[in-house]
């Protein structure tokens, strides 16, 4: 038998949801214990965390030594990690071999980088217009600050190292590979055969060769091709190779986005009489890049981590600094601490990029497509 309606039609008030569907207990029930498989997985995870977390805490914090002159002093104090090692080498990890009295220039560059990034990445940023203009001149300012000249003591790029080197290569590679990748992707779709052939060959070449090989070419072989007596900076060559390598990947990611756009978007833009570059800039690229965000950020992260490969041609990135520190007799055998520390640095940077890409995707979502 049907219950008579509790309210007259049109007078039904808003009621709270039933108790069993809200609150922590309900959450646990639906998310952790909803089925036998789910229960098994939950139990396994809890057991895994139980084994892992206390041990990691023990090693990393509770039983770790934060001070000490060398490895043996650390070991006397505690059985866990020896963070004194990282503490002593921290500046080397950060600045490489940059002259100590000039390190403020790196700090200043870093602060300016943050300002420029804020303007580029955050559309609510105060003084955004000025910020964007600043972001355009930033590369020159950064180059001047880091390399010196024009009133600053010149610093050779041999002395670059550590996280600072990672950032120099990573940020340069990222900021140049995106525009180059866009141009290559558009070139690959061009109606002009020369442009198309050039783009395709460029992309296929740089994608088909390992980055390590390119770096070797940059460090040794280029000398054969360059006229005798001329030489250009090793770091600059590395920057060019890393950028071109990432551009090739970027081009393919963006091409995916361009092809995912319905033909109708191109046709509507054409039918309106928009010129090629206007329609690319206002119609096609905003949509194609939006679709490609996950792939673009993926490429960025790949590039960023690949900067560690420069170690094999003798540049001292954080891993290089770490390895050379390990060979110091005071600190032998502390590889765990060193690799963990470098890993955390890379993880934080990459995690930041990945979070930002999620934020962007959400921000750019404009209602649902029909």
């Amino acid at each position: 038998m049907m219950n008579p309606p509790a309210y007259k039609p049109g007078e039904h008030p808003d009621l709270p949801p039933p108790r069993s569907t809200i609150g922590p207990i309900a959450w646990i029930r639906t998310n952790l214990l909803s089925s036998p498989t789910n229960i098994v997985l939950t139990v396994l995870s809890v057991w895994f965390l139980y084994e892992l977390v206390p041990a990691a805490l023990e090693w990393g914090f509770l039983d770790a030594a934060f001070t000490g002159e060398n490895r043996d002093e650390c070991r006397e104090k505690a059985g866990g990690a020896c963070w004194a090692f990282i503490g002593e080498r921290f500046r080397l990890f950060t600045y490489g071999f940059y002259p100590i009295e000039e390190r403020w220039r790196i700090d200043l560059t870093f602060v300016l980088l943050i300002v420029a990034l804020m303007a580029v990445l955050w559309d609510q940023c105060p003084f955004r217009k000025q910020g964007l203009i600043f972001a355009c001149v930033f590369p020159f300012v950064a180059g001047w600050l880091l390399l010196g000249g024009f009133g600053l003591t010149p610093v050779d790029t041999d002395e670059f190292g550590g996280f600072m080197l990672t950032l120099v290569i990573g940020v340069t590679g990222i900021s140049f590979s995106l525009p180059i990748g866009i141009v290559l992707a558009l070139g690959r779709q061009s109606h002009l055969p020369i442009v198309r052939v050039f783009s395709v060959s460029f992309i296929e070449f740089f994608r088909g060769v390992p980055l390590i090989a390119l770096l070797f070419v940059a460090s040794t072989m280029l000398n054969y091709f360059l006229p005798r007596g001329t030489s250009f900076d090793l770091l600059l060559r590395v920057l060019i190779m890393v950028t071109l390598f990432a551009s090739a990947y970027m081009a393919e990611v963006i091409r995916g986005g361009l092809q995912a756009l319905p033909r109708g978007q191109y046709e509507a833009a054409d039918a309106m009489g928009l010129k090629y570059w206007t329609s690319m800039r206002l119609i096609i690229l905003p949509q194609a890049l939006k679709i490609s965000i996950p792939g673009i950020v993926n490429t960025f992260i790949g590039l960023y981590k690949d900067t560690t490969l420069v170690i094999i041609i003798g540049l001292l990135d954080p891993l290089g600094v770490g390895r050379s520190s390990l060979s110091d007799t005071k600190w032998t055998g502390l590889a765990n601490e060193m690799y963990l520390f470098v890993a955390i640095f890379f993880f934080l940077s990459c995690f930041g990029m990945s979070r930002y890409s999620l934020y962007l995707e959400k921000k750019l979502a404009t209602g649902y497509e029909r």
Partner: protein, 259 residues
């Protein structure tokens, strides 16, 4: 050799035609998609184009704004001949609006931005002026209140009306419609057709590919029937529907009217 622009502007068209298509052929690779098309459209004329699927209707009207390239013959739109010269193509596209079956609104821009984009970037109109005009046309298609939404938030019928308004904002001399109602649910077809009828009564030159025979009967000055890439028959709507000459036209009409 005389000056090309003056030659085309005086118009080899002679009379008042705004579109003149002469012996035009189009191939897709080996496939002969349009065969010897001849068509003159007078200013203010409303033409409905119908025909079975694959007969080349879309291809023909897309040649008029060079979304497709023809390989033989000539197409002259408002005194400008469509050639490989991109300048001419731009001139023609400024004067010819197009409405697509699938609307093709730009989903990342609001309705207002969709409508002001071409006036601002192609006509170089100041933003405020473009927005005033856009608002006027959005009112004409009866959706001024949706101006700041994104296309994805509108119904199909509303989207198609925005697409019409977007084209009108360029103040085109000719409007091309490629099956503007065939992606719509029945209850939305009428709201779009109403807008088109109103546009027709205001004297716009219209070429319309559609299977809405009611629309053809009320507004068309001429109905064109295509099949196999050829114009098989053209006539005023009364004669066309009541007294079709060609067998293929009869067959087509019997199929389309009997369901």
């Amino acid at each position: 050799m005389n000056n090309e622009t003056s030659a085309t502007q005086n118009g080899s068209t002679g009379n008042d035609s705004i579109i003149a298509i002469r012996n035009m052929h189009k191939w897709y690779g080996q496939f002969h998609a349009l065969k010897d098309i001849n068509l003159d459209v007078v200013r203010g004329e409303k033409i409905v184009i119908c025909g079975p699927s694959g007969s080349g209707k879309s291809t023909m009207i897309r040649c008029i704004n060079r979304l497709e390239e023809h390989q033989q013959g000539e197409i002259i739109v408002d005194g400008t001949e469509l050639t490989n010269d991109l300048k001419n193509v731009e001139v023609v596209r400024r004067e010819v609006g197009m409405v697509f079956q699938h609307f093709n609104l730009f989903p990342h821009l609001t309705v207002m931005e969709n409508c002001t984009l071409a006036p601002i970037w192609v006509r170089k109109a100041p933003r405020e002026e473009a927005e005033t005009i856009a608002m006027e046309y959005l009112e004409r298609v009866k959706i001024p209140d949706q101006a700041h939404k994104f296309p994805g938030q509108l119904s199909g019928g509303q989207q198609q009306r925005v697409a019409i308004a977007r084209s009108l904002c360029m103040k085109p001399r000719v409007m091309l419609f490629d099956e503007p109602t065939s992606a719509l649910d029945p209850e939305m077809i009428k709201e779009v057709l109403d807008v088109m009828v109103e546009l027709a009564t205001e004297g716009m030159t219209m070429l319309c590919v559609t299977h809405e025979m009611g629309f053809a009967k009320t507004v068309a000055d001429r109905v064109i029937f295509m099949d196999g890439g050829e114009i098989i028959e053209e006539n005023n709507p009364q004669e066309f529907f009541d007294n079709p000459q060609h067998d293929r036209t009869k067959l087509f009409l019997s199929q389309i009217l009997n369901h």
